[in-house]
């Protein structure tokens, strides 16, 4: 019989990379930024973090560097979308392409070596897993209980109005993109430093795309992201676990399910907003649109 606790422990670590990346993208999207460059930022973090951990022998320095590297590469996206007002979708796709190439190019010297061991955190669970779980209430608190969180949401909901109120839309968005990059970087580094212990090209293998889906599933809330990361991570863990227990599972159908669930959730919250005019839960009003101040 499958022990639920063991599945849950697997799930905690399996969902960590996508949880970090999705929390970062959540902040960006709440500020009105749809950044499809998550995969590119994750792989950058995976390499930079691994390189730093390997060079210093300290995995935690690795995660720090990964966050910085993710934020640094997100600046390219910021310049494109906030300064040159380029389309967000196209810029994000370009960032993914660029990041994957850049990481592969600079990663050559780090092939075949192993990351330093990572000390276990409380209850034998990795420190970074704990950090990810901690970030959920922190981000919830930031979005809902702080003035800066309010400004961020205002910018994402209606950038014209936020601008008229005197908030700096561009600065807010720049910060949100950088935070998104840092979180994606940590998520990527979790794969290289804590999961695989090695660097290999393309090792994030599409995790950044899953993070995008999770944010939609979450209805743009921090706890929703946690639920989404557990759902998406959980389906993978569960189907593998069921396979190991020799239960016949339709793998492809099962792996499709979280995406269908995401669409259903999106439809439900959108319908609620459309038909009963209840605010909240739906996509930020200015998501994906660039802002240009006329005055």
């Amino acid at each position: 019989m499958i022990d639920p606790l063991s599945v849950f422990l697997l799930l905690l670590s399996a969902s960590t990379p996508i949880l970090f990346a999705a929390l970062g993208e959540l902040i960006a999207e709440r500020a009105g930024i749809l950044n499809l460059g998550v995969e590119g930022m994750m792989i950058t973090g995976a390499l930079a973090g691994f390189a730093a951990a390997y060079a210093t022998g300290n995995p935690f320095i690795g995660f720090l560097v990964a966050a910085l590297a993710g934020a640094a590469i997100s600046l390219l996206y910021t310049v494109l979308t906030q300064v040159f007002l380029a389309n967000q979708v196209a810029s994000g796709l370009a960032l993914t392409l660029f990041g994957l190439g850049l990481a592969a190019m600079f990663g050559k010297p780090f092939e075949g070596v192993k990351a330093p061991p990572m000390p276990d955190g409380p209850f034998g669970i990795n420190w970074i897993v704990w950090l990810g779980l901690l970030m959920v209430p922190v981000i919830w608190w930031f979005l809902n209980r702080t003035r800066r969180g309010l400004i961020l949401r205002a910018v994402g909901e209606n950038h014209e109005a936020a601008h008229a109120l005197g908030y700096d839309v561009r600065l807010t968005r720049t910060a949100a993109i950088a935070f998104g990059g840092a979180m994606a970087g940590i998520g990527g580094a979790f794969i290289s430093i804590a999961t695989v212990l090695q660097w290999t090209e393309g090792m994030t293998a599409g995790a950044g795309w899953i993070a995008l889906a999770i944010v939609v599933f979450s209805s743009w809330t921090a706890f929703g992201v946690l639920a989404g990361a557990w759902l998406f991570g959980g389906v993978t863990v569960l189907q593998l676990r069921l396979q190991a227990a020799e239960v016949d599972v339709p793998v492809q159908l099962l792996s499709m399910a979280p995406y269908l669930a995401t669409i259903i959730v999106l439809v439900l919250i959108s319908a609620r907003q459309t038909y009963s005019r209840k605010a909240g839960g739906a996509a930020p009003g200015s998501l994906g649109n660039n802002f240009h101040a006329l005055r």
Binding site: L34, F84, T262, V267
Partner: protein, 358 residues
């Protein structure tokens, strides 16, 4: 300080000048990159931009440009229509995959019978599959107000898994020794999409791309629906008063771009790719979004942008081949090109002014 002032209409001069400037900037920045990586920058740039067109093997690579560019242009033409109206279909990759599957399914069902109806039926099925997949986000937006950006993106993931399911299950080649992937349609004459004139690379997908460019050009510049599309994109409220039904427009744009993406998928499955595999989606649907923007959402621009991107793909391969430039370096170079093209585009839409000037 400088500031950007929006232009009332996009500048024609800059529309032509910015892509040229972007390519030049990429050549310089890329040259620096290649030099840092220890490769001769002049040779590298020449290999990527010149050799596919005029190099020693150009007789082969020129037609290949069409093969590579055709799906991008076909998909981007449809996407641009929607983008002009502010309807964001970013799930063309999914529509491409589903079109390949539905079109390919017709061929696999008809196998081994021969008949002139098979290929046209496949094209129709492919377009219908893409159309249907595009109509899902359209209807969900019209009925429930769900964002078509997000729904269409989610449906890409679903489509990828449908393709894997088909390649491992129902559509697996029964004579394939258990390996995943369908029968090869190139070896099934009634269903294949071969080169129409030897040595030109042109298959039906290339023809369709050319037609799509012409039709969308007429549509946006001459047809009343084109007017509606432009109106909806620039002034949605006014458009509504002018009698544009937003729901119809959403369905039209997503349906059209889905159908074109689906056709592109079918042409690829029946032609250059040859079979349905779990790797059916190779990213054309996403790259086409970039092509649409690089082409300024204009049919002619899209044509040129599609060819330019195809050039860098084929040139990048040549650079790997002749200079042993790693694939990653080529990828970084392509990323740079996109950054510069997207960034310079600001000049077509804005004027740069010193602060204080009026």
């Amino acid at each position: 300080m400088i500031r950007l002032v929006p232009r009332s209409t996009a500048s024609t001069f800059w529309q032509v000048a910015t892509p040229v400037m972007a390519v030049l900037a990429t050549m310089i920045a890329g040259g620096v990159l290649f030099a840092i990586m220890g490769h001769d920058p002049v040779t590298a740039i020449r290999t990527i931009f010149w050799d596919p067109l005029f190099g020693p093997a150009a007789a082969y690579s020129r037609p290949q440009l069409l093969v590579k560019a055709a799906p991008l242009i076909l998909i981007a033409s449809g996407l641009a229509i929607g983008f002009r109206a502010g309807i964001w279909n970013i799930g063309a990759e999914g529509q491409y995959i589903i079109g390949g599957l539905t079109g390919g399914a017709v061929a696999l069902a008809a196998y081994p019978s021969e008949g002139a109806w098979i290929f046209p039926a496949m094209v129709i099925a492919g377009a219908a599959g893409g159309w249907a997949w595009g109509m899902i986000p359209a209807l969900l937006r019209n009925w429930f107000g769900a964002s078509e950006i997000l729904v269409s993106l989610m449906l890409v993931y679903v489509a990828q898994r449908v393709a894997a399911w088909m390649a491992f299950g129902p559509m697996k080649n029964p004579e394939g020794f258990g390996f995943p992937g369908s029968r090869n349609l190139q070896q099934y004459p009634a269903a294949s999409n071969p080169e129409l004139i030897a040595g030109t690379g042109a298959h039906w997908g290339v023809v369709a791309a050319a037609v799509a460019v012409l039709v969308t050009w007429v549509l946006v510049s001459r047809h009343i629906r084109g007017f509606h599309i432009r109106a909806a994109g620039s002034a949605p409220r006014a458009a509504r008063f002018a009698g544009v039904n937003p729901a119809t427009l959403v369905a039209f744009c997503l349906g059209l771009s889905g159908a074109l993406a689906g056709m592109a998928g079918l042409f690829e499955v029946a032609g250059p790719a040859g079979q349905i595999t779990d790797k059916l989606g190779t990213g054309y649907g996403f790259t086409a979004i970039i092509v649409a923007f690089l082409g300024r959402l204009h049919p002619v621009g899209i044509l040129l942008a599609g060819l330019l991107l195809a050039l860098t793909y084929i040139g990048g391969e040549l650079a790997q081949l002749t200079m042993q430039l790693p694939a990653a370096t080529v990828q970084v170079f392509q990323g740079m090109l996109l950054f510069f093209l997207l960034g310079f585009d600001v000049l077509t839409r804005f004027r740069i002014q010193r602060k204080g000037q009026s």
